[in-house]
Every structure is written in C-alpha cells, then in structure tokens.
Symmetry: C2
Subunit: 335 residues, 2 copies
C-alpha cells in the first residue's frame, strides 16, 4: 500500500496525499479530512525509505551509550527517546560497552545508517586524544551532542554538569560541619569522574589540613563484594573517614551496606554523599544525601539545541549546569 492507493481511493492526486502526510497548509480542510480518514481506515504508513531517499534524512538520531543497564544511562535514554519522539525523531540505539577504544566502529555504524545526529551519553568517550580527534572529524558529517562531556569543536555540542564545583562545595560543607577526615570513592576515570575527583582534591587542598586527613579510592572492579572488601581494607589500613563522597549513588549505596555490616552509624559516625539523585538515594534507609547532577536538564537542553541546529540556527556549543546538593539523611548540614 502506498500513496497511490490512498490517492485513488480519495480521488485526489498523490501530491495531495503527500501534502496531507506532511501537514502542508495548502490543503482544504475537506480534502484533508477525506484523505486522513482513508489513511486511518487502511492503516497506511508512509514508507520511510522512499521518503528518506528524497529528503536524505531518516528523522532518526543515533544514541551512543556504554550500557543501558547503568541507571544513569537508562534515565538519559528514557528522557531522550521521549523528547526526540515528541519532535518526530526516532532513536537508534548503539551500545558500546565499556571499551572506549571501539568508538570508531560504533560511530561508523550510526553514520552508515544515515542518522541525522549522534548523541553520546557519558563522558567515557572523550578520554583519549584519538577519540577526541575522531569525534571532531565525525562532526564534519553530522552534529554530535555530548552528555556530561566537554569537547570544544565545530558542530559538537556539550551539556555537562559542574562536577568540579559540586564536589569542592561538598568538601567545604562536610568540613564546616565538623567532618575532618574525608574519602572520595570513585569507579571510573571518565572525564566527568575526573572533574569530581579534581573538585574533591581542590576542596581538600583549600582546607589547609594535613594531607593524611583525606584520600581517594578508585574501585577498578564494579563488583559489590570487591568494593566492600576494598572499603574494609581502607578502613583498616588507612583511616576511618568521617565523610565519604561517592562518585555515584551506586557506590554510596555500597558504602551504606558496608556501614550496616560493620555497625557503623550513619550519619553519626560517618556521613555519606552520593551523586546523581537517583532512585537509589530515595530507596535506601537512611536516604542518601546526594548531588543532583541535573540529568533531566542536560538532556532537555541537548534536545533543544539539537532542534535549533536542525532549524539552521547556531546555538551555543556549551552548557554548564550549576551544582545542586540534595540533603537527605546521610548528611545534614547544621545551617
């Protein structure tokens, strides 16, 4: 079934049918209704290939992410699919896993499918110099949108969160509330994780306390038991922190579990700060004090920028979101 069939049934030309499909204003209400009725009756849907052939666009956005079973990614994905669809775009999903070196392969897959743009969720991809150049080059053929990543280049648009100032600020807050021994816990060396790490270190440095009062701990394996044993080692061999800042809520949850296993009282003995204001932070007991990394806003902003680019505008390349700390139970400031 094609527009010819519809045209025949409706006694109009295919051009009129095409106009109706594309909401052209130059169709009388009467014909429009007639055609619409027949399309509905026959359950007609225009062939995208034929359409794409002419327009050279498939109204499809490639979404590149590591793994949708990560809750941060999953949320972003959910937002994007919805917002893009509301604007007439489909989402072609491409999951690279955590091996960031295959970026080229995945970008090529998306480009070969003629997606109109690529959205990259997560800052893992912006790690190596090779990857950066790859992204810059790919941006010559289609616009690229980075979520939570920063890369200055033509046709590359970034939305990211001010992680540096967020962790820096939280260090201040912890210190000002009497927490002197601090630990930063993280599990990734992505660009965003680095910003968090740097903010933490900067915050600690500003305190002008001896450096043995704070430390950082990288969890190379993402397995819960390994991380718990890593924490056990740290508490035993290094020091017992009064505050732990985790690079995401998942890690913070593991800290809570560790604390319960070891009868550490939270927040009395130990304050815990999560990151992302995810469902975890609300599901746990005590509820996690967490940094709201503004994921929804980042996604929203990216989609808006994307639409502007498609409209031929030249929007700002860079959007930086201000930090926002959500105080719940695992740490409360006195002020």
């Amino acid at each position: 079934m094609n527009i010819y069939d519809i045209a025949n049934r409706a006694n109009v030309s295919i051009a009129t049918v095409s106009r109706v499909i594309n909401n052209s204003p130059k169709v009388s209400e009467k014909t429009r209704k007639k055609v619409h009725d027949i399309m509905d009756e026959l359950g007609f849907t225009p062939n995208v290939f034929a359409r794409g052939l002419g327009l050279n666009t498939m109204k499809t956005i490639g979404i590149l992410c590591s793994d949708p079973s990560d809750i941060y990614v999953a949320r972003a994905l959910s937002y994007f699919e919805k917002m893009l669809r509301e604007n007439g775009y489909d989402s072609l999903l491409c999951c690279s896993g955590y091996d960031t070196e295959n970026l080229k392969k995945y970008i090529n897959i998306l480009i070969s499918k003629s997606v109109d743009a690529i959205i990259m969720i997560g800052s893992k991809y912006i790690s190596s110099r090779d990857n950066k150049n790859l992204i810059k080059n790919s941006a010559k053929s289609l616009p690229i949108f980075l979520i939570n990543g920063f890369l200055k280049a033509d046709n590359v648009y970034c939305s990211y969160y001010d992680d540096f100032n967020a962790t820096k600020k939280i260090v201040d807050m912890l210190y000002n509330n009497g927490k002197r021994k601090l630990l930063f816990l993280y599990n990734s060396t992505s660009q965003s994780a680095k910003r968090k790490l740097d903010g933490f270190l900067k915050g600690c440095k500003n305190l002008k306390e001896p450096t043995d009062k704070f430390d950082t701990l990288l969890c190379e394996e993402n397995d819960i038991d390994s991380i718990i044993s890593l924490l056990g080692d740290f508490f035993e061999k290094e020091f017992f922190p009064e505050g732990i800042v985790a690079s995401d809520d998942f890690l913070a949850m593991i800290v809570l579990k560790f604390a319960k296993q070891n009868n550490i009282e939270i927040p009395g003995e130990l304050s815990v700060i999560g990151y992302d204001n995810s469902i975890f932070s609300k599901l746990s007991y005590p509820e996690l004090t967490t940094i709201d990394s503004g994921l929804f806003s980042l996604c929203k902003h990216s989609v808006n920028t994307l639409l502007k680019v498609f409209d031929g505008d030249s929007p700002e390349n860079i959007c930086l979101l201000k930090p926002d700390i959500i105080e719940k139970d695992t740490f409360r400031s006195k002020t």
Copy 2:
C-alpha cells in the same frame, strides 16, 4: 556521490558496481578489484534509503518497551542490543510509557520504519483484548517477539517465565518454614503480574488455612512514600505478615526500608521475597532472597528464535522457563 560516479570512474555500468557492492559472483576478479579500489579511494558508502527502498529491509529490529529507566527493561534492552548487533541488526528503540492503550501508534511507528521484527519487552501490552488482536494482526506483516508475555498466534513468538509456579512454590516454602501470615505485594496488572498473583493465591489456597491469614496488596502508585504509607496502613488495619512476597525487587526494597523505619527485624520477624534477582537484591542489606526470573535466558532465547525465523525456519512459538529461587538473607529455608 553515488554508484553512477563510481561507474563512470571505473568505466563500467552501475549494474556492475551494484554487483560488486552486493558480492555477486558474476563479476570478473579484475573488474571487482577495479571497482573496489575506486570505492575505497572515494570513501563511498551506498545510500541506505535507496537500498532499503528496493529491498524493504534495513536490518533493524524495533524494540518496544514501556520505559528503559525501569531496571528490568534496561537489562533486557542491554542484552538485546548487544546480541542483535552481534548478528548484524540495529535496534530501533520505541518507548511507550505505561499507557498501554497507545500500542497501535507505536507499532505503526516501528512498521513504518520497516523494521524486520518487533520485540516487545514486558507483558503490559498483552492486557486488553484489543491489544491482543492488534498484535495478532500486526504479526501478519512482521514477526513479533514477546518477552515475558504469552499470546498464541501465528508469527508471534513468546518467551516467558513460569511466574505462577514460582510464587506458588515460594508460598509453600514460606509456610513450611513456619511463616503463616502472608502478603503478596504488587504494582502492576500486567499479564506477568497476574501470573504471580495467581500463583500466590493458588499456593495459599492449597494450604487450607483460614483466608484471613493471607492477603494481597496492589500499589497503584509507584511512588516510594505512597507505598510505604500503604504498607503502614496494612500493618495497622489488617495484620502483621510473617512473609511478604513482592512482584519485583524494587517493591521488596521498599518493604526493607519500611521495616527499618519501623524496627521490624528481617528475616526474624518478617521474611521478604523479591523478584528478578536484580542489582537491588545484592545491594541491599540484608540481601534480598529473590526469584530469578531468568531475564538473560529469555532474551537469549528470543534472539535465537528470531534468527531462526529470518533463516526461514519454523521454531517453536513458545518458551517457558522454570522457576528458580535465589536464597540470600531476607528468607532462608531450613532445609
């Protein structure tokens, strides 16, 4: 750049170029090489639209789900994208939200993109008679794969889990371990949720105990606070259960939170059973005893079936997975 350009440069016809692109054997090695060289030199990639127009396939599978930020869905999505890509298929994502009545709209979107098959994650879509008929009808134009749902129809392939016997079995286990007052907690009326509910009720019925010793509680709102207050009401106005079976780990986590808030000891005073063996069950303390709904196996099986269908085989329509209970901390049987 198109095959005409290549054809000109190579002094052959477009047909020959096309043959080279499609690895037709009827091209001399010499011409093949010549054409290949020129394509490489110019970095030519065939236009997918033009190709799709003729072939009417894009090697793309439509994945229809409610919301990828649900962890069950997210996991399934992750499995599918990976396995499909390994077999040369892309994934077009389509999220319907929880409004199951718009199914037609979403199926049409996918069909209009000429996907080669549709995978539907979750049994929510198989609720109404209308939806069932819709699926049956759509299956006339392309194969449909249901994950965790059952519908007997041509060209519809189901993989689902034996929820009925899982909850039935867990009721037995609870009872045999001295838990007499039981509550089933659920938050959906999907087909799968119904199977769980029925299994629970059947299990209870078999016990031949007075019916006031067990009950079921539907959480209409998915908000954590509402569910906790719902639980509070139940404990106050109905009875204090000795075992709670939740329809997913998320709900079970909320029960744990509720228990901690109210100083209910788990599993001493109250046993809790989750469902799905998700990350929640491992992240909580105490860890959740949970039913492993075999998601990976379901996905794996679906992809295998899909490949068989595309190969022209006629695989079994239905796959039912046996129940599997993972004992952790929130309930341990004595045996």
